[in-house]
Every structure is written in structure tokens, then in C-alpha cells.
């Protein structure tokens, strides 16, 4: 019936509309129905989504699509080498300001922690610059500073001075910052980087490691914290004013942005390792400024020099970078800007620039005209700092293991990969590593004279602590401090596992169970195994064959897939079925696989 103004839906469609099938399972023939409905201004229920694609497949497809797109666009990855870098060489120097881990401030006895974070509650009269107040050097602050200097391999100066750096700002009540401009307390150190720290091969030049020189380390005061309330009001909290900082200044030995970020990371980890500076970059306890310059390869740049390194181009300073990624990105952006200016025939001015996250280029903060004249002068209120050699010797001899040494030792002693070793050393302030070492010793002891290779034990323990235990903690959202499992318990589980008393599956279940037990005294692992009847009662050879044959008979198509189509991977499906079907704690996957391969292969 081809009537031009059809007022009712055609019969075959009405059947679809009035179908008694419940809406949740209705799969409309989308095009026809909704188009018809919308053409007559009837609202159509949104077409049901297609059967959802498994997430893994979706991600794989996305990745493939992106790759194809990139290939079409001819995008060259940065790693393949920016051609301009063949002509231009980058030089970077880094200045790191790190908050020292002390109980009180640098020149007053106001505490650095406590008082529940209430603003302006940890302020001494000197911090507020009340007229007539004098600085009083707090001796205890020297200890972490000294550790930092020795950990970074510096020469500690017996005598150093305190200088005033004058400038006016509302976060600096005194009108000057007390620092060590003329005579810092430590000079001439080094920090070593390996390829695994993120140093690109171009910087390593075939060597195993590179050494970045540290010009000096000095102690100075921190400023107050200000918060901006637009349009032009600022709230000032003097709790942080006067907090001790160390400033670590490197020499311009760095030639790539990745190395610069690696230097900052390495210095942070060294300082954390010796308990000198424990608040990291993410919490604002460590800030970096970088000095960037470029020069044409083979030339002497503009002939500038810094601290003995000569032949450099004009440098600009980028201030207040607050994350490792920001350090890398800001240096890349500034390098590109400088190269662009120089290639166009311009000249780089010595300016101070800033960087915001997500920006494409650095922004100018201060030009040469705006350069601040700090009028450095020795502070007459403070006597020179005299450090005794007995103290330096004591600190040097009681220095804890530095992170590099620990990572190396963990690799050698426990057979972990470099990545795993680094992870475990960093986790939970070293408590996780301590747990691992204790567990490893207990396992070695418990296995007695079976003398399994120490490296194998180490790998086993390491994997369990990093991946199994770590996974459980994160999925149950428990922090390490609240974890009830003791090294003895984990060691018992692993000993039983190694002795083939329990299967891997059962071991994981035990771990999970132990996590949830909060009664005390805690039952021993052996008790739990016996109570739960989890001990492996190994199936006999016939038992395996019988179970295997049973499963094979039930699914002939899978058998065919393996036998005829040669899909070896499907064997694991059979193994899974056997483990599931068999009684708890009886089927060992390894043995099952051997039996199955024998049977299926035939």
C-alpha cells in the first residue's frame, strides 16, 4: 500500500513494535525502525549497544589503529633523533633545593612538625622578624646536612660562613634570606648515573656510568608559604619560614633532558636513603631550578663559562620545577626555543623563565633589566660555622648503605632484575626490603640441606613479596603498615610450596586467608594447612591419566584442536580443567601438563 501519507506503521513493522519480547533483550533492526520512527517525529528508544567487545580486544584494536594512523601521517618518534640535535648541543646545570629532615628550624627553636598543620603555629619571634630578634644556629640541623654532603661525595669545609641575600617579598619577613653564598659548607662532589637510571645511550658514550659533578652544597632558610586569593590578595603562613634547606648545585655536565631528570631523581633517592631529606618532589619538599644553554657542535658557543666549564652558550634559568616530568619537558621546550632563536639569527638573552605543566614553551619571568641585585654580605649576627673533623669521620663511618649499593646487592644476592630490585628498595622506606631479606633467610634455613640455589630462593621470595603480596595489598587497599603477615608466615608458606606440600594455588589462598586473620595469637601456617586439609595428596600417575582422559572425552573438539590444528596453547585449558575438577590440593599443574602432553601428543 503505497499511500503517500502513511499514518500507521506498516504491518510488518508493527509486529516488531508490539512484540512481546521484553525490552531488555530486544535487538531492533536499528536502521529501519528508528529511521521510520524519527521521520515521523516519534521518539525512538536509543538503539541498544552492540554486544560488548572484550576489553583486551578493544585495547588491542585501538593500539593497532593508532599505529596505522601514525604511519599514515608519517610521524617520526622523538627517539629516532631530532635532526637539529646533530648540529646543536645542549648543556644543563641543575640546582636542587631540598628540605632537611630536622626537628627544629635553622636559626630558631620553633619545631618543624606537629601542631596538626594549623597555620602560623610553629613560628618563633625571629621567624616573624620581630625587631631586635637574632638568629641562633640550631646545631642539630647540621647532622642531616652533613650526611647529605658525605653521601654525595663532597669535601666538607671546616669553616664556612653565613651571608645575607637581600630582596623584599612578603614570604621573607626579614627582607633577606640567610644562605651560604661566599663559603658553602661542602664542595666538589659527584653523583653517578647508570643506564638503568634513565640516561640515554648518547650520553653514556659506551661507558657503564657517567659522573655529574656537584659544585657545592650550602645550607639556607626556606621562605614562608603563600596562597593566592585572586585578584591580588595573598595569605601568608610562616610555619615554613626559616625551615632548613640544602641547595645542591651541579656543574654543567649534563647534556640531555632525560639525564637532567635522572640526576634529580638520583639525588632525591640518595638524600632519602640517608634520611637527610625525606619529603619528595610530589609533596613539595624538593624543588629544582635548571640552567639551559645550547651551542653549535664543535664551537665554543658565546664563550660563556661557569665554574670551570667553558665554551658554553648564553644560559637561561627556569625556576620552580616541581616534578621530574616537568624538569624533562621544560628543558626540551627551552632547548627547542633557543635553537629556533639562534637558527633564525637571533641572540639568547640571559633571562629567568618559568614553566607551567602542560605548556608548550617556557614563559619569561624576568629579563636582564629586572635582574635582582641581592647585595650579598656576610651576616654579622652569626659566627662562622666550624665543623669538627671527628664528627665528619663519625658520620662517614656510620653512613648507611646508599641506594645504588643496595640495589646492586639485592641483584647479586637475590637474583632480582634491576627493575624489581629498584622497586623493592624504594617501597615503604625500605621496610619491604627488610621483610624480604628476613623471609629469604628463614626460607633458606627452613629448607635445610636441600640447599636450593640462593638466587632461586631470592627470586621466589622477591616475586611473592612484590607481586603476590603487593597485589593483595593493593586490591584490598591495605597499607604496608597495617599488614598483619609476618616474615615467618610467608616463609612457612614458601617452604611448604618448595617441598611440594601444597600447590601454588593453595599457597595463594593461604596468603589471602592470613591477610584477613586478625585474631591473636595467629595460627601457624602448618596448622592452617592441616585444618583446611590442604596438604597435597599427590595424585598417582593413573589418577592423572584417568582424570585427563575423562576431560578429553568430554570435549572432543578441544582435543581435535590440539591434535589436528596444532594449537598447543589449548593444553593449558585442559590443565585448568583438571585443576578445577580435581580435589582441592591434589592436582599439580606441572605434572598435569606433562601427562596431558603425553596423552594428547599420541
Amino acid at each position: 500500500m503505497n499511500s503517500s501519507k502513511l499514518r500507521t506503521a506498516p504491518l510488518h513493522l508493527s509486529r516488531a513494535l508490539h512484540s512481546s519480547v521484553p525490552t531488555s533483550s530486544r535487538v531492533p533492526r536499528a536502521c529501519i525502525v528508528s529511521k521510520w520512527l524519527s521521520s515521523r517525529n516519534f521518539t525512538a528508544a536509543p538503539p541498544l549497544a552492540q554486544e560488548s567487545i572484550p576489553l583486551r580486544k578493544h585495547l588491542k584494536d585501538e593500539a593497532k589503529r593508532k599505529k596505522a594512523e601514525a604511519k599514515n601521517n608519517g610521524v617520526v618518534k622523538e627517539g629516532k633523533g631530532d635532526p637539529r640535535l646533530d648540529n646543536w648541543e645542549l648543556t644543563v646545570g641543575v640546582e636542587i633545593h631540598a628540605e632537611l629532615n630536622t626537628a627544629c628550624k635553622l636559626f630558631s627553636n620553633a619545631p618543624t612538625e606537629g601542631s596538626d598543620g594549623v597555620a602560623n603555629s610553629r613560628v618563633a619571634p625571629f621567624d616573624a622578624a620581630l625587631p631586635g630578634t637574632q638568629p641562633q644556629f640550631q646545631v642539630a640541623t647540621l647532622l642531616p646536612a652533613l650526611r647529605a654532603a658525605i653521601a654525595l661525595d663532597c669535601e666538607v669545609q671546616r669553616k664556612s660562613g653565613w651571608d645575607r641575600k637581600h630582596y623584599f617579598h612578603w614570604d621573607q619577613p626579614n627582607g633577606y634570606q640567610i644562605t651560604q653564598y661566599y663559603e658553602p659548607f661542602a664542595k666538589n662532589g659527584t653523583v653517578s648515573l647508570l643506564a638503568s637510571d634513565g640516561v640515554p645511550a648518547t650520553d653514556l658514550n659506551g661507558a657503564d656510568s657517567i659522573n655529574i659533578g656537584i659544585k657545592q652544597i650550602q645550607m639556607e632558610q626556606d621562605t614562608a608559604k603563600t596562597t593566592h586569593h585572586p585578584p591580588s590578595t595573598y595569605h601568608v603562613d610562616l610555619n615554613r619560614a626559616g625551615h632548613p634547606l640544602i641547595e645542591v648545585i651541579t656543574l654543567p655536565h649534563i647534556h640531555s633532558p632525560q639525564t637532567a631528570a635522572a640526576v634529580v631523581r638520583k639525588i632525591q633517592s640518595v638524600l632519602r636513603g640517608v634520611d637527610a631529606c625525606v619529603t619528595g618532589m610530589e609533596l613539595g619538599g624538593l624543588r629544582a631550578d635548571v640552567n639551559v644553554s645550547v651551542r653549535e657542535r664543535g664551537t665554543e658557543g658565546t664563550g660563556s663559562s661557569y665554574s670551570g666549564v667553558s665554551g658554553l652558550g648564553q644560559r637561561t634559568e627556569i625556576k620552580n620545577l616541581s616534578s621530574f616530568k616537568a624538569v624533562e619537558d621544560a628543558i626540551i621546550a627551552e632547548r627547542d626555543r633557543q635553537i629556533a632563536v639562534l637558527e633564525a639569527g637571533g641572540v639568547i638573552e640571559g633571562e629567568t623563565r618559568g614553566w607551567t605543566l602542560g605548556a608548550k614553551e617556557t614563559t619569561r619571568l624576568r629579563g636582564k633589566e629586572g635582574e635582582v641585585d641581592y647585595r650579598y654580605m656576610p651576616d654579622a649576627d652569626l659566627p662562622p660555622l666550624v665543623i669538627g673533623s671527628d664528627l665528619v669521620d663519625h658520620v662517614r663511618s656510620t653512613m648507611p648503605e646508599l641506594p645504588d649499593e643496595t640495589v646492586g646487592r639485592v641483584q647479586k644476592q637475590y637474583g632480582l632484575t634491576v627493575k624489581d630490585a629498584k622497586t623493592i628498595v624504594d617501597l615503604d622506606e625500605g621496610d619491604r626490603l627488610e621483610f624480604m631479606e628476613e623471609t629469604a633467610e628463614l626460607v633458606t634455613h627452613g629448607l635445610g640441606d636441600q640447599s636450593l640455589d640462593q638466587l632461586k630462593i631470592g627470586k621466589l621470595v622477591g616475586n611473592w613479596i612484590l607481586h603476590e603480596l603487593g597485589g593483595l595489598l593493593s586490591s584490598n587497599e591495605i597499607s604496608w603498615n597495617n599488614m598483619p603477615i609476618t616474615p615467618t608466615e610467608l616463609a612457612d608458606i614458601l617452604i611448604n610450596l618448595q617441598n611440594k606440600q601444597i600447590t601454588g594455588r593453595v599457597a595463594k589462598q593461604l596468603l589471602n586467608g592470613l591477610l584477613e586473620i586478625s585474631t591473636s595469637p595467629r595460627p601457624s601456617v602448618d596448622r592452617l594447612i592441616d585444618d583446611g586439609n590442604l596438604r597435597l595428596r599427590p595424585l598417582s600417575e593413573e589418577g592423572y591419566e584417568a582424570l585427563a582422559t575423562q576431560i578429553m572425552d568430554e570435549s572432543p573438539d578441544m582435543v581435535a584442536a590440539v591434535r589436528e590444528k596444532g594449537q598447543k596453547g589449548k593444553v593449558m585449558w585442559f590443565v585448568g580443567q583438571m585443576v578445577r575438577r580435581g580435589e582441592e590440593g591434589t592436582v599439580e599443574p606441572e605434572k598435569a601438563r606433562q601427562v596431558l602432553e603425553r596423552l594428547l601428543g599420541s
Partner: protein, 206 residues
């Protein structure tokens, strides 16, 4: 106290009469008798003290240029003056007359400074403050194991296999603070405040 008396003794030992101390030193703008001139003695080698003391050998007036006297110091530009005032957070001059006064004062001050700069200071370390610079003084000021004892006791060694140093943290809240007798409230000095914060107006006039 002991340190000061040592210092004063050392100081006194070096000081002699002002006239004899600065022998051979010529001050550029002195209008009185020039130093370095021989003190007049009679045939027996005695000094006529009354004659010597009858007129001043030196006047403070020599330190500033006399009225109308041309100074040798370079002129200071208005721009330099403004820069110095900004560095010191001082207000700029209201009008040309005030600026002229400031420049004149600054100029005569520079005249004085130039005079002082005539002194030969090769090999002399600048004095930073009056302190005991003897060897014993330095030994007293030295921070060694004894001085750090308190700080070292505030640390623990954590771990048996992986030994680390950890400073013992204080976890007190406000109550612990109050018990220590810290009764000074910094905000009592605040001109402007909001809650527990000092307030600063950062605008152009601020």
C-alpha cells in the same frame, strides 16, 4: 665575657696615638695640617705639647666637601638614585627639589666613602663582627661529637638486614605545644589577618 676581655687586650695592644698610627698616609681632602709632617721637636728631642695641642691636626670637616668645592666623585644620575631607592624599598622623591636634596646628600656621602677607600687594605681580611678569633676561640666554637650528642641520640637504626637511620619524629598535636609554654601568638602582631593567616595586598599600590 672572657672572650671580650681577650679581644680588648689585643685591640689595646695594637692601638697607639692616632697621630703616629697613620704615618705616610695622605688624605685627599684634608684641610688641616697634613699628616706625615714631622712633629716638631726642639734640640733635646722634646715635643712642645701645648703648641701641638693648640690647633687641631685634623677635622671631621675634611670628610665632606666644603661648600662650593668641586667633588671629584662622578655625578649620580636620577636613574641610579631611583634604582637605589627601589632596592631599599624607600619612597621615590616627591618633586625635583627633594630629588636635588637627595642627590646632594648622596654625593657628599660618596665623597666620604672615597676618603675611606684610600686606606690600603691589601692582605687584610674584612672584619665581619667582633668575635674571638684566637685558636682557643675557634676550638670552643667547633661543632664536634660533643656538640652533636643530643642530635645523634634522637636517631634510631631501623632494620636488621637492611639497616637505615631514622630520626625519631615527634607526633604531638597542639596540646603538646601548649604544654611546652609556647604562648606567643604570631598573629597578635598582624595588622590584617583572615583566620590563621597573615593577609598581604599584592596589588600595584601594595
Amino acid at each position: 665575657m672572657q672572650r671580650y676581655s681577650v679581644l680588648l687586650r689585643a685591640f689595646a695592644a695594637q692601638t697607639s696615638s692616632p697621630v703616629q698610627q697613620a704615618s705616610g698616609y695622605r688624605r685627599a681632602f684634608a684641610t688641616g695640617a697634613r699628616l706625615g709632617d714631622e712633629v716638631q721637636r726642639d734640640s733635646d728631642g722634646h715635643i712642645d705639647v701645648e703648641k701641638l695641642l693648640s690647633e687641631p691636626a685634623w677635622s671631621v670637616g675634611s670628610l665632606i666637601p666644603a661648600e662650593g668645592q668641586q667633588t671629584e666623585s662622578p655625578a649620580i644620575s636620577s636613574r641610579q638614585l631611583h634604582h637605589l631607592l627601589r632596592l631599599s624599598a624607600l619612597p621615590l622623591p616627591k618633586d625635583a627639589q627633594e630629588e636635588a636634596m637627595m642627590l646632594k646628600t648622596l654625593s657628599s656621602q660618596l665623597h666620604f666613602v672615597k676618603d675611606i677607600q684610600q686606606v690600603d687594605t691589601t692582605g687584610v681580611e674584612p672584619l665581619r663582627s667582633l668575635r674571638d678569633e684566637t685558636a682557643e676561640g675557634e676550638k670552643e666554637a667547633e661543632l664536634g661529637m660533643a656538640a652533636m650528642k643530643g642530635a645523634l641520640e634522637q636517631e634510631d637504626v631501623r632494620g636488621k638486614y637492611h639497616r637505615r637511620i631514622r630520626r625519631r619524629r615527634r607526633s604531638g598535636g597542639m596540646e603538646e605545644k601548649a604544654q611546652e609554654g609556647e604562648h606567643w601568638d604570631p598573629l597578635s602582631t598582624a595588622g590584617k589577618k583572615v583566620g590563621r593567616f597573615f593577609v598581604v595586598e599584592g596589588g600595584k599600590d601594595g
